[in-house]
C-alpha cells in the first residue's frame, strides 16, 4: 500500500541520510565505551566524540561548550529549566514566574506544578495573531518577575515571538529568560548571546535528528547551576545524571551541522512551499489562516474552516498525513489551548488543521495536498446538504 505524503514536520522530521550514516558509524564497536569510564580508551573515545558533538550544538547557537547539557529532548529541557531554577533557590523562597498561554504543555504543566508549590505563576495572552506583544510582556515584567519563559516559534500556528526584544527587556530587569526553541532551532538563526537568553531548550528530532535526545543551554554567567531533576550520577556536571547516549548525541550534532549549512536554503524552500499552498487553496470558500504573514515561521500553517470538523477533514484527505494541531495533545480531543488564547471560538477551533512542511517537501506533493484538501472540503460540504 502506498504511504501517505507527509505534511507533519512540526511534530517530527525524518532522520536525514547524513545523520543516519553518522549514527550508524557511532554504533560500531569503536564507540562502545561509556563516556564516563575514563580509565580506558573506549570510554575516552566516547567522551571525546560527545565533546565534539557538544561543540556542534554550541556553534549553532553561539554558546560555550560547557553551557550545553544533554537531555532526552525539549520536554525534559523545559522541565529541567523551570523546575531546576526554582528548586535551586533556598527552600521557602518563592519565585515570580511569567509565561504565556500559547506555551507547550511541557512548559505549562511544570509551571502549574510550581504554582501548586507556592510560586507565583502568571500567564499572559498573545495577540490575535498568536505572538506576544512587547507591551504586554513589559507590563508583566514590571509588575514583578524573576523568570520569564516563552517559546520562539509556536508549534501549532508557527507564530514567532520577538526573542531579541524580550531578551533585552529581561536582561535590563535582571530577569532569567528561558526560551523553548524546540520548533525554531536549526530553522531560524538563533544566537543566545545576541538575544540575551539565559536558558534554552533544544530538540533534535524536529530538525532531521533522532528522537530521544535534546539539550538545555544554561548561560554560565547569568544562571550557572540548576537543581537536577534526577540524582544518582555525576554526568553533565550532576545537572543531568545518567549514562550518555553516544549515538543519539552524535546524531543530534550531525543534524545541527546540517542545519547550520542548509538553514538559509531551507527557509527559502519553506517559504515557497507555504506560498504555493496558500495560492492553490485560495479559492476554498471560508478558509481562514491563523496568524499573520509577518511574524510567522513559513514551515507551519494553521488554517480553519469553521463549518467543518477537522477530524473528518483529515479522514477525508486519504493521501496526505497532516494533523489537527499539536501532536502532544491530539489524542486527548481537547480544544487547542493556543487557538483559544488567540480568541478563536469553538467552531473555528474544531475546524482547524495544521500543515507543516520540511526540507523534503516537493512542490508536486503540495499540489496533491491542495487537491486532496479541496476534495475533502467538497465532500464534507455535500454531506451537510451543500451548505
Amino acid at each position: 500500500m502506498k504511504r501517505k505524503i507527509y505534511f507533519d514536520y512540526a511534530s517530527t522530521t525524518p532522520i536525514a541520510k547524513e545523520v543516519k550514516q553518522d549514527m550508524a558509524a557511532a554504533l560500531e564497536d569503536d564507540l562502545l565505551g561509556n563516556a564516563s569510564s575514563l580509565d580506558h580508551e573506549f570510554g575516552l573515545d566516547a567522551s571525546q566524540a560527545i565533546e565534539l558533538a557538544r561543540q556542534d550544538i554550541a556553534n549553532l547557537i553561539n554558546a560555550k561548550t560547557d553551557e550545553i547539557v544533554w537531555t532526552s529532548g525539549a520536554t525534559e529541557s523545559n522541565n529541567l529549566a523551570l523546575l531546576g531554577v526554582c528548586n535551586f533557590k533556598p527552600q521557602g523562597q518563592t519565585l515570580r514566574i511569567t509565561s504565556s498561554y500559547t506555551e507547550h504543555k511541557s512548559v505549562i504543566e511544570p509551571l502549574m506544578h510550581l504554582k501548586r508549590k507556592g510560586h507565583h505563576v502568571e500567564f499572559i495572552a498573545p495577540n490575535k495573531h498568536g505572538y506576544l506583544e512587547p507591551a504586554s510582556i513589559e507590563k508583566a515584567l514590571d509588575s514583578g518577575c524573576d523568570l520569564f519563559s516563552c517559546m520562539h516559534v509556536n508549534n501549532e500556528i508557527g507564530s514567532v515571538n520577538d526573542i531579541g526584544t524580550i531578551g533585552s527587556m529581561c536582561r535590563e530587569r535582571n530577569i532569567i529568560f528561558h526560551v523553548d526553541a524546540a520548533q525554531s532551532i536549526g530553522k531560524i538563526p538563533l544566537d543566545v548571546e545576541k538575544n540575551k537568553i539565559d536558558l534554552m531548550s533544544l530538540s533534535a528530532h524536529k530538525i532531521y535528528g533522532p528522537k530521544g535526545i535534546g539539550a538545555l543551554f544554561i548561560n554560565q554567567n547569568s544562571v550557572g547551576r540548576l537543581q537536577p531533576l534526577m540524582s544518582g550520577g555525576g554526568q553533565e556536571r550532576a545537572i543531568r545524571p545518567g549514562t550518555l547516549a553516544t549515538h543519539q548525541i552524535i546524531g543530534m550534532a550531525s543534524a545541527y551541522r546540517l542545519a547550520k549549512s542548509s538553514m538559509a536554503n531551507d527557509l527559502i524552500h519553506l517559504t515557497e512551499c507555504r506560498d504555493l499552498f496558500l495560492q492553490l487553496t485560495s479559492d476554498i470558500k471560508g478558509l481562514m489562516i491563523n496568524g499573520d504573514t509577518h511574524n510567522t515561521f513559513p514551515g507551519i500553517i494553521s488554517v480553519s474552516l469553521p463549518d467543518l470538523h477537522a477530524e473528518s477533514l483529515l479522514f477525508a484527505m486519504d493521501k496526505v498525513a497532516i494533523s489537527k494541531g499539536s501532536a502532544c495533545s491530539s489524542e486527548h480531543h481537547e480544544p487547542s489551548h493556543v487557538l483559544k488564547s488567540m480568541g478563536l471560538d469553538r467552531e473555528k477551533i474544531e475546524g482547524t488543521i495544521r500543515v507543516s512542511f520540511g526540507r523534503n517537501t516537493g512542490f508536486k506533493e503540495i499540489d496533491i495536498l491542495a487537491q486532496s484538501f479541496k476534495k475533502a472540503v467538497n465532500h464534507l460540504r455535500l454531506l451537510k446538504g451543500g451548505i
Binding site: H309, S312, A316, H379, G385
Partner: protein, 123 residues
C-alpha cells in the same frame, strides 16, 4: 470480509443516501439532533403505510458519525418505521469498531431517529 477501517471508509465516502437539493423535501419526514461540539444529524424518511421506501441524511461531524449515519440509512430501506425503535445499533458499533470515547455519536443518531418517529407518529 472487509475490515472495520474499510467499512468506515466506504460508509464515510458513500454519498448515495445524502439528501441533495433535487430531492423532494415534502415527501420526507425529518428528525434532527445535535450536540455541544457542533455535530448534527438530519434524517429524512419517506414512508408508505409505515414502510420506509427511502431514507436520506445530512450530517456534520467526525468520520464515525458520518459512517454511522450512512450505514444506518443504507440498512433501513423496506423496514417498518416503528421497528426502528428496536434497531440493533450495536451492530453498527462493531462494524466500524467505534472507539469507546466516540460512543456519544451513536446517541446523536438515536436521537435523530427518535425525533423522526415522533414526527411520523404525530402525523
Amino acid at each position: 470480509m472487509s475490515s472495520s477501517i474499510e467499512i468506515l471508509k466506504q460508509a464515510f465516502f458513500d454519498t448515495d443516501h445524502v439528501f441533495i437539493a433535487n430531492d423532494q423535501a415534502d415527501q420526507y419526514t425529518t428528525g434532527c439532533s445535535d450536540n455541544a461540539q457542533n455535530m448534527w444529524v438530519k434524517l429524512y424518511l419517506n414512508t408508505t403505510s409505515a414502510k420506509i421506501i427511502d431514507a436520506k441524511y445530512e450530517v456534520s461531524g467526525c468520520q464515525y458519525l458520518v459512517a454511522l449515519v450512512s450505514l444506518f440509512t443504507n440498512s433501513i430501506i423496506n423496514q417498518d418505521v416503528f421497528s426502528l425503535a428496536d434497531f440493533d445499533y450495536e451492530s453498527l458499533v462493531s462494524m466500524i469498531d467505534l472507539p469507546k470515547n466516540r460512543q456519544d455519536r451513536l446517541f446523536l443518531l438515536e436521537d435523530a431517529v427518535k425525533d423522526c418517529i415522533n414526527h411520523i407518529e404525530r402525523g
